[in-house]
């Protein structure tokens, strides 16, 4: 219990301290660590006679500063409007400021310098900056009183809305990164839809714009809201160039001029209807703001003293190298970590080179690039036990600040290569049936190439390949021919099987020949009866097969009509008729024809068949 009480007591005091600190910070006029500064600003550098402008005297890092009493200002009458304070806590740091506002009424035309204002408080003396104000005779247009014609109004806004372009230096080396800043200045105007700048950059490569910065800047005594666009440019070829003009597109918001038909009674603050704001009280006008141009010189890299290994790195760099582990077995990897840091074009920075790669196997590095540094991680592998150190690493670059080539060397790094303990490794091969275990020695004492061949092998003519051999190439046709012939024969066979007309037509001469041969035998025997029977049958079958008709029904009248249709010559028809007649004479009339008549009939039939075969009817 005592212990618990002690803990509670010890906890109470820090808690109380924190609470007190909070109250001190919150309610006391803080003790600001920074020095107090005194600054004078006006809301516009130009004012018309009869109008007014606001003067602000700002004390930063102070909140209890009384209002300074303004001296008599030449050309103006002044009136104190009141103070405004601001306090901010950023990262635990408290800062505050007080601004005393005054109304200045011009009394004459001209350009007046006001200030510097001097102020003394608690024995401390403060002096502000000086301001320049131009008082004009005519009307100076402001955003609160725009005319209905936007163009003339915009022309007059050039001192309140403009773009500047600037580079840190106007002479650069090829590929050197140069920061480029484009600023949009806005003084008490409503601007929206601001686009990223565009500018002509012939001869340059341009990086992407960073996220724009927004801040306030005092320029000739006038406070401007500034939008700053940052990028880098690289000269691509030597020569003299012009950068810009930079264009920024945006929309200007202006208040519509009110109609003059309102009555005096209605001309009061209640007259401004809230719905006017929604339904057309403001209008947007697209603007294309243009900056000036910058002359720019891109210099070539000097050839003098150029290092042999120079790979184009430009800038001012430092190099850090670490190697680990520094005691490895032969063939094990060592990691080299190299960090190149500094300023310059990191795209041009290559991996630092080893002075010698002998005894190492080098792998391609892994590269990681950040804003102001580039990291390389490279694996190297010692391949020889003779290696005692990782050789020196060097980075060559052209220092654009000094205009000369520089080389950074790091290392060498001593390294211990541990040889394998035994060249001969023992492997235990266990055999469940045999005990004890059998030791098999794997011998590997070294390595070299295997000896030459004793015989020349099959020596052949150079480029004498089989695919070039003409006989072999010609021989390729035969299998294809064989296939084609087989295919044709197969198709023919199939037709004979399926196409009866074709089959009969094809067989007709063969059958006729057989019949004629038989008839000849009967001719030799002078057997007229059998001769004409055979001759008639042969003729009938031939004509039946040839014209795909029933053989038995073949008569001279049938065949005569058929042949006539097919355009057979009259001579052949006469011969056929004669054969038919002679056959009928012998077969039905028992006429005795001589052997000469028989031969004559046979020849006639052969001639007719020959004629019909040749005519391919």
């Amino acid at each position: 219990m005592d212990k618990l009480k002690n803990i509670t007591r010890s906890l109470k005091f820090p808690a109380l301290g924190l609470t007190l600190a909070f109250y001190v910070l919150s309610f006391t006029p803080c003790c600001f660590a920074k020095e107090l500064s005194f600054e004078a600003t006006v809301d516009s550098g130009k004012v018309s006679l009869g109008s007014s402008l606001q003067l602000a005297l700002n004390f930063s890092n102070a909140q209890n500063m009384p209002a300074p009493e303004l001296p008599v200002i030449n050309g103006f009458q002044s009136r104190y409007l009141g103070p405004s304070t601001m306090m901010s806590i950023v990262n635990g740091k408290v800062s505050g400021s007080i601004t005393h506002n005054y109304l200045l009424l011009p009394t004459k035309v001209g350009t007046f310098k006001i200030g510097p204002f001097k102020f003394e408080h608690n024995g401390d003396k403060y002096t502000s900056n000086q301001l320049s104000i131009e008082v004009l005779q005519g009307q100076v247009q402001g955003p609160a009183q725009p005319s209905s014609q936007a163009e003339p109004e915009i022309k007059d806004l050039s001192d309140r809305l403009f773009v500047t372009i600037q580079v840190k230096k106007d002479r650069t080396y090829l590929n050197e990164a140069v920061p480029l800043i484009i600023k949009l200045y806005v003084n008490r105007l409503g601007i929206r839809d601001i686009q990223y700048p565009e500018f002509s950059h012939e001869g340059f490569s341009v990086s992407a714009f960073d996220k724009p910065n927004q801040y306030q800047e005092l320029r000739n005594g006038v406070n401007f809201d500034v939008i700053e666009f940052n990028t880098s440019i690289f000269g691509l070829r030597p020569g003299e160039f012009k950068l810009g003009p930079a264009h920024i597109k945006c929309n200007l918001i202006v208040q519509k001029q009110r109609k003059r038909n309102s009555t005096l009674a209605s001309n009061n603050s209640f007259d401004s209807n809230i719905f006017d704001d929604f339904f057309g009280r403001f209008e947007t006008y697209p603007l294309d703001l243009k900056s000036g141009e910058i002359a720019f010189t891109v210099l070539p890299l000097p050839e003098e003293n150029k290092p042999v290994d120079f790979s184009g790195a430009l800038g001012s760099f430092g190099l850090e190298v670490t190697a680990a582990p520094l005691e490895v077995k032969l063939g094990d990897p060592v990691t080299l970590k190299m960090v190149v840091s500094g300023e310059g074009n990191f795209n041009t920075v290559g991996v630092p080179k080893l002075k010698s790669e002998k005894g190492f196997k080098i792998y391609e590095p892994q590269i990681k690039q950040e804003t102001n540094e580039k990291k390389f991680e490279q694996i190297i592998m010692p391949m020889s036990a003779e290696v005692k150190e990782i050789p020196m690493l060097s980075l060559d670059f052209f220092d654009t600040q000094s205009g000369e080539y520089k080389t950074i060397n790091r290392g060498p790094f001593p390294i211990i290569i541990v040889k394998p303990e035994k060249e001969e490794e023992l492997k235990i091969v266990e055999n469940k049936q045999l005990t004890p275990a059998v030791f098999v020695k794997e011998e590997r004492l070294g390595r070299d190439i295997i000896y030459i061949k004793d015989t020349p092998g099959l020596l052949k003519k150079k480029s004498d390949y089989l695919y070039k051999n003409k006989i072999f190439l010609v021989f390729q046709i035969f299998p294809l021919l064989l296939y084609l012939i087989t295919l044709v024969l197969y198709a023919k066979k199939q037709r004979l099987k399926t196409d009866l007309r074709y089959a009969r037509g094809l067989l007709a001469p063969r059958k006729a020949k057989a019949g004629i041969r038989q008839a000849k035998k009967y001719l030799d025997k002078a057997d007229a009866q059998k001769f004409y029977d055979t001759l008639f049958t042969a003729m009938q079958e031939y004509l039946g097969d040839k014209f795909h008709l029933s053989s038995k029904g073949i008569t001279i009248s049938v065949i005569d009509e058929h042949l006539r249709k097919n355009g057979v010559a009259e001579e052949a028809l006469v011969k056929l008729r004669e054969i038919f007649r002679e056959c009928d004479m012998v077969r039905y009339a028992s006429s005795q024809l001589t052997q000469a008549n028989m031969r004559d009939s046979l020849i006639k039939l052969e001639e007719v068949i020959d004629y019909l075969q040749r005519r391919k009817i």
């Binding site: 196997k361 391949m383 390595r447 070299d448 190439i449 295997i450 000896y451 030459i452 061949k453 004793d454 015989t455 020349p456 092998g457 099959l458 020596l459 052949k460 003519k461 150079k462 480029s463 390949y465 089989l466 695919y467 072999f472 390729q476 299998p479 294809l480 064989l482 296939y483 087989t486 295919l487 197969y490």
Partner: protein, 262 residues
Amino acid sequence: MKKIGLFFSASFFAVTFILIPCLRSSLAQEAAGNSPAALFYQANIYYQEGKYDAAIKGYEKLIDLGLESGNLYYNLGNSYFKKGELGLAVLSYEKAKGFIPNDGDLKSNYDYLLQRLSLEPQLFGNWFEKTVCTLFQAATIDYLTIFLFFIYIVLVVFLILGLFFSRLKRYSGMVLCVLAALFILSAYALNRKINYLSKFAVVISNEADAKFEPLENATTYFKLSEGTKVEVVEKAEGWYKVRRFDNKLGWIDKSTLKLISR
């Protein structure tokens, strides 16, 4: 009887007038030490004596005579290796691979040589080309030609038999697809091997600069170490435009590399 008599007469004529003079000429050449075999053995003796320059000269004399073999290129590669000209050793082993791709000695020596040069086996082309090359790496150009011819014959026989045996027709689609695929793959592999001889080269100098342009003072794009294989894609006077296995292209001095076909 007449036929037997004719056969003996022809044999006698052949032995007397063709074979004996050829044999005599061969023996005479052998005696004079000019026969290809004698030149080969002589070069082997130089190698055994450690006279690698002389051995190289001997083997190259055979090549100059228009002869080549796997063993010849293997021995030449060994000689270059011993002499320390590792780029030329790679070239010789590459040539030997065209004849004896399955030779264990060649594989072992080539592996060791690549290890000495800190080089990995380099395969060119896309995944399909690499797969086909790996599949057919054990085949020589002649073997692939015979294999293609064999597929062709099988294809024809199958088509002929398919006409007469209806059972074969059932499987014809599948078999024809397999045979056609094999034929196409083999033909592609053969084409690659033929192209390989004429288009590929080996870096024979210690280091070669591949430049953006075929000019002496052009910017170096990448470096090629001794023994690296490259594909020659274009030729200009004194320069070759080469492609590395990672598809990087650059112009390289002609004298720093040698084509495998030469």
